[in-house]
């Protein structure tokens, strides 16, 4: 009994022990800060710029301009006229004329009904405040000195607006029915697409997990195919099927495919694999013991379905619903191609920015679009965190028993879904290979002469491959290293949780919003990063950031399965953490690393939304080329390019499969006993 401690219940006063950081700690914290900084510059700052843009209003303040007019001889009598007063007398500009964008400019000659540019009359003009600005030609005049101008120059004078902060843009937005109707439209097609997709995907996944149907492998493969193409490709196929000269447009009984019908069908196509994957996972982990219990209690299959199957899969269903909803409401390519006059939010952003150059309104629509996207994302995260505890270690996997009748029904059902997916792709390929639908059906490769079309030609295809490759390599490195640092560094709790938050954010930000915020942030000449604007670098950065979250979660999941004491052991052996990272962590997590890289590659090939604002003539992309060729009426070449993306992604997947098998066989020998 050498030592007895006195039992006290309060910490003694005095400073806490401050850890002395090892070189590794400093290195890891430093690297984490670098990656956090990367996320701040590529995500937080652009979004903030966009948000502030949405609250920026521009108005021409007439009270800050004064004029003097001379007689014919050029002599001024000293009478000073204010623009405000003149406008009140003459009613030249209404209030809405004065409210304008950052680029707004208004001429002043309207204030002088006698004005003629040939007249010898001279004009003087000045700002009454230091904030006032007006243009003479392209020269900006600030300050309150009088500027004398002859009549010919005076017609080139334009008043410039003053920036203010306020809700003006939002008020404007919500008082323009043409704009806010898009909210209703977006919500409507998203809800309908979600219900249809989740229902179809559920039965498809159910057939694959719970029946003894044949050809399951093939169906699984087909279900994943839409991931490999841009979301606008089904739109092109639908135009060929149901458009004005569509192959089977009679099936629509006169309804137009251009609009909600087309968007919903296309959305079902491109969101199907996402819903299928999530629901399939949920169904795969159900516990057979519950079904045995149901049978022994003599429950009818129908009752068992509602009391066992659906509750077991409910988190999967909810999660799938929100993921699909999010994908549809934020998608831009499909409604652009097939939406016709049916406006949705994502396309509004594009129209405001590219069509009308109204950046403030684009920012407002972006803010409006972010709200449902963040809500859907937040609910999905909440639901997923509940899913975890569902499966106990003692669960027994469910084994389906053959039932010829239902198996046949499922086979027919899955074949129909498969036909839908393969059919749309086949239509695109068919369209790409024939000369001129519907007049000349002979086969030709002329639609592959991309260099003769708008959109950047074959160059954009190779740009896309370059982008996809760079995104895969750089993105995987940044994401995996970042995830490692946040999972395995010591202490530094606040820093780590802030990092986690930043890593989750991109998922909630629609691509259009990200792209637009990049314009605001990087296209500002005073931004030190301005140099990357219009280069391949900004496309890579934007794409990595856009798809950061899923990659990060994949990496974190893999890292969480590593023994958390590896770092402790390595430190006790006085070995640098980076040696452990290179020799153990990366090799063990190699399957996840490869998954992240193929995910980034495929998405970089197909993405349209974020990069549509950011490409330059030198960095056109294949997916954008599809969009632009379609826009220009070259639908067949658009289909051809879309299918090129499909084949490239399919090839990348196959290479990935072979490569990972080869690499895994060599590096994962330790997995087998």
């Amino acid at each position: 009994m050498s030592t007895m401690s006195t039992n006290q219940d309060t910490l003694p006063a005095g400073p806490d022990i401050r850890p002395r950081l090892s070189r590794d700690d400093i290195l890891m914290r430093g690297s984490m800060m670098v990656i956090a900084l990367y996320l701040i510059v590529t995500l937080a700052l652009p979004l903030y710029t966009m948000l502030s843009k949405s609250f920026s209003t521009y108005r021409v303040e007439l009270s800050q301009y004064e004029f003097q007019v001379s007689d014919e001889a050029g002599v001024f009598d000293g009478t000073i006229l204010t623009a405000d007063e003149l406008n009140r007398q003459l009613g030249v500009y209404s209030d809405t004329d004065l409210t304008t964008g950052s680029d707004g400019r208004l001429p002043v000659t309207g204030f002088f009904p006698d004005f003629s540019f040939r007249s010898p009359v001279m004009y003087q003009m000045r700002n009454t405040t230091e904030a006032g600005r007006f243009l003479v030609g392209s020269t900006l005049n600030e300050g309150t000195d009088w500027v004398e101008l002859d009549s010919n120059t005076f017609r080139r004078v334009q008043m410039r607006p003053v920036q203010a902060r306020g809700l003006g843009n939002f008020i404007n937005y919500f008082s323009t029915p043409a704009l806010f109707n898009s909210i209703k439209n977006s919500l409507w097609i998203s809800v309908v697409s979600t219900i249809v997709t989740v229902t179809l995907a559920f039965w498809f996944a159910y057939a694959l997990n719970r029946s003894c149907m044949r050809f399951k492998g093939a169906f699984r493969l087909i279900a994943m195919a839409p991931i490999l193409v841009p979301s606008l490709l089904p739109g092109i196929a639908l135009v060929y099927l149901f458009g004005n000269q569509g192959m089977i447009k009679e099936l629509l009984f006169g309804a137009s495919i251009y609009g909600p019908i087309g968007i919903v069908i296309g959305s079902v196509f491109f969101t199907f694999p996402h819903a299928f994957l999530i629901i399939s996972t949920a169904l795969a982990i159900s516990d057979a013991r519950l079904y045995e219990a149901a049978v022994s209690l003599r429950s009818t299959p129908w009752r068992t379905f509602w009391t066992v199957t659906i509750p077991g899969a409910r988190y999967g269903l909810i999660s799938a619903a929100f993921v699909v909803f999010n994908l549809v409401i934020t998608d831009f390519g499909l409604p652009k191609v097939i939406g016709g006059q049916f406006n949705v939010l994502a396309v509004d952003i594009y129209k405001q920015v590219i069509g009308q150059q109204n950046f403030e309104m684009g920012a407002v629509v972006s803010v409006v679009l972010v709200i449902p996207a963040i809500l859907a994302f937040g609910i999905d995260r909440m639901v997923q965190s509940k899913q975890v505890a569902l499966l106990s270690a003692r669960s027994v996997p469910y084994q389906a028993t053959p039932n010829p009748k239902t198996d046949r029904i499922f086979l027919i059902y899955c074949s129909l879904i498969g036909l839908f997916i393969v059919g749309l792709l086949a239509v695109c390929q068919f369209a790409a290979l024939i000369k001129f639908w519907p007049y000349d059906l002979s086969l030709s490769l002329k639609n592959y002469q991309f260099n003769k079309m708008d959109g950047g030609g074959w160059g954009s295809y190779f740009n896309s491959i370059k982008l996809a490759f760079l995104t895969a390599v750089i993105g995987t490195t940044v994401v995996f290293f970042g995830a490692y640092l946040v999972e395995k560094s010591n202490g530094f709790k606040t820093g780590r949780s802030i990092f986690q938050m930043f890593a989750m954010l991109p998922m909630a930000i629609p691509g259009m919003v990200l792209g637009l915020s990049y314009i605001f942030f990087f296209n500002n000449p005073s931004n030190p990063f301005n140099a990357i604007y219009g280069t391949m670098a900004i496309l890579v950065i934007c794409t990595v950031t856009h798809f950061y979250t899923v990659s990060h979660l994949t990496a974190v999941t893999a890292l969480k399965q590593m023994d958390k004491e590896f770092e402790s052991v390595s430190a006790s052996l006085k070995q640098p953490t980076m040696k452990l990272f290179a020799r153990v962590t990366v090799p063990v997590c190699l399957p996840a690393v490869l998954d992240i890289s193929i995910y980034l590659f495929v998405n970089a090939m197909t993405t349209v939304s974020a990069v549509v604002f950011l490409y330059s003539p030198k960095t056109t992309l294949a997916s954008i080329a599809v969009l632009n060729m379609d826009d220009a009426g070259d639908i067949a070449p658009a289909a051809a390019m879309g299918m090129m993306i499909f084949y490239t992604n399919a090839a990348a997947r196959i290479v990935h499969l072979i490569a990972s098998k080869g690499i895994l066989a060599r590096t994962q020998a330790w997995r087998s006993r």
Partner: protein, 371 residues
């Protein structure tokens, strides 16, 4: 590595250590001294702070306040990589993608040793832990016990001054556990390395440790050799946690004797005042059985008549439940040897006399409720 401290001298000194997780105090004012070459076990129920203390010594989770001196050097705020220890975890934490050899060699690299030196040292260590031919295998190809021996070899490869074992045997089968604990003890004795082991298994601690540190609720309840801890527990917690202990509500009466009902018993000396309510405690194996009527003939005042309620055969002895209305609802548990049971012809339902030897009957404070 040079070991400056000669055996038996102070090697590790922990002074007034506190650890707070938010408002929860995991360690409260812990002070402890460990000598060079000692094998120390931190023993206690889960959540008592024993692993927290080990991790503070290693620098893996720094204490909030307090000092850790190792080998005469203040290491209180040093990161693990600047301290001198090897560590073995319950999960083995072997690098799964490296062979056994590479695992052991991991800490030997970058230390100025040549490749052939490393190879020699690795095979030396493999011999030491009794797995000379397993070097080229991967961890997953070995059994749990073998993996733990490799983890041990890796931890001692660089001759650290301090070996930390965090529940190293808890993940293993009972038989392997007994075997391996013997081997670890042998190895430790051979190497003479100061060792701290965390365990919740009292048998393990009793078998392996030179000294046991019994912990509960973030404080040290007692430090002592296994026999001290077992024979002279400092308080009821230690008495109850290690081994089994009968507890009887009683009161101190004249001459320090303990009264249970109308009967009083002589007991080990204590410092309680007359009239204090205490717990009288005795271990099941310390109760001596006598035939019925022994009370009258011998007149031994520490004897009492009981009914033998229930007998349970546990292989090497019989566990018996004894009843006397004086004990209230609680029964006494006694372990009687097979010989004694045969000699006294004990069977369920019979009356008998038991003796609570004066030098084995202890008096303890009544613990506060909830403590």
């Amino acid at each position: 590595m040079l070991q400056k401290t000669p055996p038996g001298e102070l090697y590790l000194s922990i002074q007034n250590l506190w650890k707070a997780f938010g408002s929860f105090l995991a360690l409260k004012d812990i002070s402890l001294e460990i000598k060079e070459g000692e094998f120390i076990c931190f023993l206690g129920p889960s959540g008592c702070g024993k692993t927290t203390l080990l991790r503070a010594i290693a620098g893996l989770d720094l204490q909030t306040k307090g000092t850790v001196m190792q080998d005469g050097k203040d290491v209180s705020n040093l990161p693990p990589s600047e301290r001198d220890f090897g560590i073995v975890f319950q999960s083995y934490a072997l690098f799964p993608n490296l062979t056994i050899e590479k695992n052991i060699a991991f800490g030997l690299e970058n230390t100025g040793r040549s490749k052939s030196d490393i190879a020699v040292r690795v095979s030396e260590l493999l011999n030491l832990v009794g797995l000379p031919d397993q070097g080229r295998k991967y961890p997953a190809q070995l059994s749990g016990g073998q993996q733990q021996r490799i983890a041990l070899a890796r931890a001692i490869a660089t001759n650290p001054g301090l070996l930390l074992l965090d529940e190293p045997l808890s993940a293993l089968d009972a038989k392997v556990r007994v075997h391996l604990r013997h081997e670890i003890k042998e190895l430790q004795r051979k190497l003479g390395v100061t060792t701290v082991m965390v365990t919740h298994d009292q048998e393990e601690a009793l078998a392996m440790a030179d000294r046991i540190v019994v912990m509960n609720h973030g404080v040290i309840e007692q430090v002592g050799s296994p026999t001290e801890i077992y024979r002279e527990p400092a308080n009821l917690f230690v008495a109850d946690f290690i081994g089994e202990m009968n507890q009887i509500q009683s009161q101190v009466t004249k001459g320090g004797r303990l009264s249970v009902g109308e009967k009083t018993f002589a007991c080990l000396s204590h410092t309680f005042n007359d009239g204090t309510p205490v717990i009288a405690a005795i271990r099941p194996e310390d109760i001596i059985p006598h035939e019925a009527g022994y009370l009258d003939t011998g007149g031994n005042r520490n004897c009492i008549e009981v009914t033998l309620d229930e007998m349970e055969f546990l292989g090497s002895f019989w566990r018996c439940r004894l009843n006397n209305e004086r004990f209230g609802s609680s029964e006494l548990i006694a372990d009687f040897s097979i010989n004694a049971v045969r000699r006294l012809e004990l069977e369920e339902g019979r009356s008998m006399v038991i003796e609570l030897p004066e030098n084995r009957l202890m008096a303890f404070d009544i613990p506060e409720a909830g403590a």
